[in-house]
Amino acid sequence: MELFKKTATELSSMLKAKEISAVELTNDILARTDAVESKVQGYVTVTADAARKQAEAVDAKRAAGQELSDLAGIPVAIKDNICTKGILTTCASKMLYNFNPPYNATVMEKLAAHDIVMTGKANMDEFAMGSSCENSAMHPTHNPHDLNRVPGGSSGGSAAVVAAGEVPLSLGSDTGGSIRQPASFCGVVGLKPTYGAVSRYGLIAFASSLDQIGPFGRSVEDTAMLFDAITAHDPKHDSTSVKTPFEGTTYSNLSADMKGKKIGLPKEYFSEGISEEVRKNVLAAAETYKSLGAEVFEISLPLSEYALPIYYILSSAEASSNLARFDGVKYGYRTKNADEDLISLYTKSRSEGFGEEVQRRIMLGTYVLSSGYYDAYYKKARAAQRKIKAEFASAFEKCDAILTPVAPTTAYTIGSKTTNPLEMYAGDICTVSVNIAGLPAMVQPCGFDSNKMPIGMQLIGPRFGEQTLLNAGYAFEQASGLKNIIAEL
């Protein structure tokens, strides 16, 4: 029946009308996974048996006449840095190769309440550090549109399995672009919510002040539907969680009306560092908005050039502290080669358990927090962060959303950037500001390059501007027809 080709919204209607059962859907999805996963390798763990059981339970509930969520029975893949009780959660690291969390992340509790069917844990760059999914200690993930290319990262697995039709929806996390850049590379929709809109409880922290969980889908509607299910104020578990004005209502409030909407194009995001094909397609999207009645104009965000250093200082500083708990004492990897002393246990467990990129960031973060360097790096970065926030705030006095490229290029070939970390970091130029400012941003496909690789565009909104972004994305999707793109495999 090729149910895997349908969007979550379509599947939801079919399930509700009892045209299909959750078990049928799950089996179809798992069959697709069987067929293509060996090529894509988007998962760390496929939880097929548990998925079938969950699907059976949903069918039983529906048969019993229970009122169910729109998402009931819909398969969802979960990034492997989100804690799932009793189910392996590795962060794609040797350090957590055997870690079964004793508790569920808040988002997992939310999804369970919506009766979703979890298909598995998606691959990622180790501890979400990376932009290509090549830093996974398990295996690299391949871009379903060209298996020789990277899917982007760090949520590369989450994006790839959606693009490959292995699942209609997934969750990722975004610290500096980790949802948006892989969404762009894989031709799917990805939403990075306002900081605090989704509870971080149970998300294994990379950089606490920047991390956000967000949804992937193959359409804006699907993405909104999953977003609604995970947005919730969580004051008991996450102090940085906030109450949003749109909690659970973005899907039902979707509107494609762009008349009178103001869209800013920040000139700094279209500079020479951005490839011609990417620039052309994003500017074409701007034209589409004009034709839909929106007002489109150039703006300037001059502080953008400082975003990368600010990001790498703040995120590495927090990471160096957040990842200190992986010490070989309590859970996860412990060296077998430790000498009698404690320091040896720590040093060897961490040196053997963490990959190269993670170690690089821990050292960078430790350095910027060190006595004597703190003021020059960390403190200064925090001060600069406030300025970036202010710059965005004043930009949003003039426009409803900001349209930009997502990455300088489309997906590159596997191995082409692994030797130069700085080049890899530079790829985050268009995405990190959003995290620094705590803003929402959405990525969706706006075209293809000459290699038929997807090109994404990014819409940035003001704090709590998710509805505006989803509406704008919905309007573009309808106008362009660029939706539900499944890679041929």
């Binding site: 804690c83 962060c91 409880y201 002040s209 940085t240 502290s321 200190a324 309590k330 430790t366």
Partner: protein
């Protein structure tokens, strides 16, 4: 040469909140190993802290009671270091902006009033406990992990172990007055680190300071300080110099040894905890905290000493117990009894009863009103002092008033002279031998005869009247 010691203290007190500082686990002491734990306090990946506001409340209370300025915006910082009892490998503490700053604590040493300034008070989480088992090696008990602490850091204002001890005692008494700490030394609810340096007497310069850790009791602090002062003097006298270092006190061997030198000093890489947002103490909350500060121990002490005419020791004993001193104040406030009379009851019979039964005052049924009634009954001669002691026991244990107890036990004193005279005469008649003795000059038989009269009155005869009438009758012989 004569030397002056300069001492500063870092006192840690565990706060007696129901739950831990950043999760909802119980903060109570003494549970089975690793039963008061959850993903948050065991540092599970992905778990996040949420501040227990009671901790802010208690810490601010201590600040206000010690004259500190309270910083209304409370932020938390991470102190990063590796140790197996610290599951996150960082302690959530406060660094550059502690909740309280610039306080002062007053206390008496040998009748002289002294003070020690507090540099800061901050709140933080306690670490777990390593249990070294001979068979299984070392295991970690995370029950204590996340139990809230306040750390109080003094200025180097103390100059002897005696001053340090009295300061510590005053901190402990203040904590107990505020009801924010169990103050059980044996459970580690108050611990302290000591900084000691010496300088030639009269000098204003500071010497190199040595920090001492592993001090678990106040008396241990005294021993550790005395040892360290003597050690430093010896080093200097022998031409050596004091090294800036941290030394571990061994209260069994009564000596300290080097733990780490200045070169090994750790860089804790403090930075604001991004998992927590600043909590503001608004005006309403601040006023609430302020309203909960009782009269401070030192003020009570001085009132007892100067206004109630008690001795320093009596005043101190009363001050030390918030509940006893409160009982005294309430009794005195009735205006019906002399404070000194109430104090005598509290320091003697009431304290003895509580000690014998191992009870706290608040766990008995004795109230100030009942105590006042009791004293009034004795003052009015309705009952004897001896009967009063019997009544007191009932006041602790029953809901009855003093009058009801006197009635029930038939303890009312007989002061009717006619009735007592009859009784005295009967006693004299039945004790001819005593009369013989009296006549032979053995005046001490009087005591025996008084006792016989009391016995004949079943203890209810007014002893003064018995004495008077007996003397009168004996004189007639």
């Amino acid at each position: 040469m004569k030397y002056q010691a300069v001492i500063g203290l870092e006192v840690h007190a565990e706060l007696s909140t129901e739950s831990k500082i950043y999760c909802s686990c119980s903060a109570k002491f003494g549970a089975d190993i690793n039963t008061h734990t959850c993903p948050v306090c065991t540092g599970m990946p992905g778990a996040l802290p949420v501040l227990n506001k009671q901790v802010v409340h208690y810490a601010a209370k201590m600040g206000l009671a010690t004259g500190c300025t309270v910083n209304r915006l409370c932020k938390a910082d991470r102190k990063n270091y590796f140790y197996p009892d610290l599951p996150k490998a960082y302690q959530i503490s406060q660094f550059d902006v502690p909740i309280c700053e610039n306080g002062e604590v007053f206390f008496y040493v040998d009748g002289e009033k002294k003070s020690c300034r507090l540099e800061r008070i901050h709140f933080e989480e306690d670490a777990g406990k390593l249990l070294h088992d001979e068979i299984d090696g070392t295991v970690v008990d995370f029950n204590r992990c996340g139990v809230p602490l306040i750390e109080m850091v003094t200025k180097p204002d103390l100059h002897s172990s005696a001053e340090a001890k009295e300061f510590l005692e005053m901190i402990k008494t203040t904590l107990s007055y505020l009801d924010i700490c169990d103050c059980k030394m044996e459970e580690g609810s108050i611990r302290c680190d000591v900084n000691v340096s010496i300088r030639p007497e009269g000098s204003n310069e500071f010497g190199t300071r040595v920090e001492m850790k592993n001090i678990n009791t106040f008396s241990g602090a005294v021993r550790a300080i005395d040892y360290e002062i003597a050690r430093q003097i010896e080093v200097v006298e022998n031409g050596g110099t004091i090294q800036q270092e941290t030394r571990r006190w061994d209260d069994v061997k009564l000596k300290n040894t080097v733990m780490r030198t200045k070169e090994d000093a750790q860089d804790y890489r403090y930075f604001p905890d991004p998992d927590l947002i600043a909590v503001e103490i608004d005006d309403e909350w601040y006023k609430q905290i302020e309203s909960e500060i009782p009269e401070l121990p030192i003020s009570r002490y001085e009132r007892y000493l100067n206004e109630y005419g008690m001795t320093a020791m009596e005043s101190r004993q009363l001050m030390d117990s918030y509940s006893k001193a409160s009982l005294l104040d309430a009794a005195a406030a009735s205006g019906k009894v002399k404070p000194k009379a109430a104090a005598n009851w509290i320091l003697s019979d009431i304290s003895k009863y509580l000690n014998d039964k191992e009870l706290e005052l608040e766990n008995t049924k004795l109230t100030a009103e009942k105590l006042v009634d009791l004293i009034c009954l004795i003052d009015a001669g309705t009952i004897s002092g001896a009967a009063g002691k019997k009544v007191l026991v009932q006041l602790f244990e029953t809901d009855e008033t003093a009058e009801q107890i006197v009635e029930r036990l038939g303890l009312k004193q007989v002061s009717d002279e006619g009735a007592i005279l009859t009784l005295v005469k009967q006693v004299l008649d039945s004790n001819p031998k005593s009369i013989e003795d009296y006549k032979a000059g053995k005046k001490n038989v009087t005591g025996f005869l008084v006792g016989q009269c009391m016995k004949a009155s079943k203890g209810q005869g007014n002893p003064q009247i018995i004495n008077k009438l007996l003397a009168q009758e004996l004189a007639k012989l």
